[in-house]
Symmetry: C2
């Protein structure tokens, strides 16, 4: 057993962050390639630096936030949060009473835990669906949350989207679209309308997903609702501070949908080459992934039977990091994170790598993985040192 507990996962994450810190300190940030798709950029200008304060920064950047946020999401009013989970919490606390109900519709279960957790905290009940025919409002439903696209980048069909908004509004139930990556994935790649343009009351997106902003939540919608949610956010310290707002504004200014579209073409090209070299690669909308199960199949080695899929995928992610400086989520994620290795070609750093470099890193890492699997000492050192 290589990874026995969530404490071991904390140690794995610490080891990955330690490696990144020493790499960046010794060789500079450009020696690192974060293809996680969750790098969380902070593209401040140097002239922004002395304006990041509570009042001066608020004054300067809140104007930019309204302007750029409205352009991106289309709305009356915009509000930024420390994280999308914090936005969900503020919204449920502001709009749902104890004993009322939150309903969650998503393309595919399981749900992100922030929605049921926030409902529970407020003393509200919670139901979730991923089949449109099962969707039904309750007598006490106060809020419907629609997840526009899942972590796996599955999106909700347009007709289902419209149907849920219609059913909800016919009963005067508010609709929040949790469009973390969807605000860009759905619109840029699948040509779906923006959540608010389909009639939703509120939408929230994560400014680090398919764009180069900080890990933060950007909400837009009806002004009256935004004001109520803002008040709740300030009470519990959930709102984004001026420096983060500045990062969001600059990232929105720099947002070019074309980079997402370019990654589609590049993905097909790299995929067609990789597929000749190994079996387990699958496409995602803006890159590709290798599931833990597929890595195990790829290995096809009797000696590894005492390691779990998760352990093998974690090893692979740590080899990608340590041998090739590629950052992926199974290496740096929190305990319990998905062990699927995803490489996002819409990530900023993908532009600094050639197709060959990416293919080489994956195939070489797989080769190294096969070599070390029977050597327990080597495995421990890769994951924990």
């Amino acid at each position: 057993m290589l990874i026995c507990s969530s404490l071991d996962e904390v140690k794995r994450r610490d080891a990955a962050l330690r490696f990144i810190a020493s790499q960046v300190t010794e060789k500079g940030r450009e020696s690192l390639y974060d293809l996680s798709g969750l790098a969380g950029g902070f593209p401040l200008k140097k002239s922004d630096l002395n304006l990041l304060e509570t009042y001066a920064g608020q004054a300067i950047f809140s104007q930019g936030l309204q302007k750029e946020g409205k352009k991106h999401l289309g709305s009356e009013n915009v509000l930024a949060f420390n994280r999308t989970s914090a936005a969900i919490l503020a919204t449920i606390l502001a709009l749902v009473k104890a004993e009322e109900e939150v309903i969650h519709y998503l393309p595919k279960l399981p749900s992100h835990p922030s929605i049921p957790r926030s409902a529970k905290l407020q003393g509200a009940s919670y139901r979730e669906f991923d089949k449109i025919n099962d969707f039904k409002l309750g007598e006490k439903t106060a809020l419907v949350v629609i997840t526009g696209s899942t972590m796996d980048h599955q999106i909700i069909p347009l007709s289902d989207f419209e149907k849920i908004i219609k059913i909800s509004h016919d009963s005067n139930v508010l609709v929040l679209v949790d469009d973390a990556s969807g605000a860009r994935l759905r619109t840029v790649i699948y040509n779906q309308p923006r959540g608010l343009d389909m009639g939703a009351d509120l939408v929230v997106t994560s400014t680090d997903k398919l764009m180069d902003g900080p890990r933060a939540g950007l909400m837009a919608g009806n002004s009256q609702l935004i004001d109520i949610i803002k008040n709740k956010a300030h009470q519990f310290g959930l709102e984004a501070q001026p420096a983060v707002v500045a990062g969001i504004v600059r990232a929105l200014e720099d947002f070019h949908p074309q980079r997402i579209l370019d990654s589609l073409e590049r993905k097909d090209k790299i995929y067609s080459q990789l597929a000749l070299l190994m079996d387990g690669v699958e496409k995602t909308p803006t890159g590709f992934m290798i599931s833990a199960g597929n890595i195990l199949k790829e290995i096809n080695n009797e000696e590894v039977l005492n390691l779990s899929e998760r352990e093998i995928a974690t090893l692979m992610a740590m080899i990608l990091l340590k041998d090739h400086n590629l950052v992926t989520i199974p290496a740096v994620g929190m305990p319990g994170v998905s062990p699927t290795i995803r490489l996002d070609l819409a990530a900023y750093d993908a532009g600094r790598l050639s197709d060959d470099q990416i293919i080489y890193a994956i195939t070489e890492s797989l080769k190294r993985l096969k070599q070390v699997l029977s050597d327990e000492e080597a495995c421990l050192s890769i994951v924990y040192e």
Copy 2:
């Protein structure tokens, strides 16, 4: 009536932020003097700028946070939050169960609302005291919160502090010190020990109070407790993101207690001159304040009787801002903020103003206030334009 509702206060705040934005845009940040004591600095180095990301930033700055945070607060483990209110929420959610009790002791009521609000959200009961002889644990008390110093910079006597910690620990009840400004005020000016050095289990401080860090919360304490609280913080998006962590680290590196001590001396000097020119000035630990009631007395003008104390103090704060570029809380604060005008000489910008400039700004603003009070149009324009 000049200010009729909290909506009017929102408009007043917007007007102040608009003025600050145009001032900073046209004349640069150095034309502004934020003496609120809550400026919330963000002293990043230019070389930090490309490291503020989710994983690279986390890797680099979390090491600095542990080092500097432990030095400042003295502890095993450190955790940063988006705001101190978010830290309070995470702690109560993590350590207190529904039906249990939170007790809050503070030098003087009223309490900061984040503590009772968080207890209520968790379904816990809440009691508060500001007299040591009234303090008594209940059967279900799970957490005692001690506020080290109030917004008005009143501090808790050392003997009361020690007594509460002893009573709590004798019954195995955990103690959190809410030391927002106290972590510096109590230790630097009043020579009290740090909260953890007195035996508290956890302490949280606001990194924008009496130091030049971002508006954020820095918690320290027992590692096992910090881990539980960290888990809860991540669930609801309450933790500080890497860019904010970077701001905290740089501010802690730059923290010099001497600047607080210097402000004491300067305060006495300016106060002795101001007291000759007007009656209503009072000392605070690191500056002075003019209460709304004292401004009203100072005016002593029959014609103002249709304006409330709050309205007159707001006018004064807006004149200080617009005529002298001095930022104070009654101008930029949220609706319901205290109308007392405070000038903090420990604020970073205070170093760029001479004593004479500060005295001139206050006395001239008072003169202008007297002139405009009977002119409704002028008052409206000062507060809302």
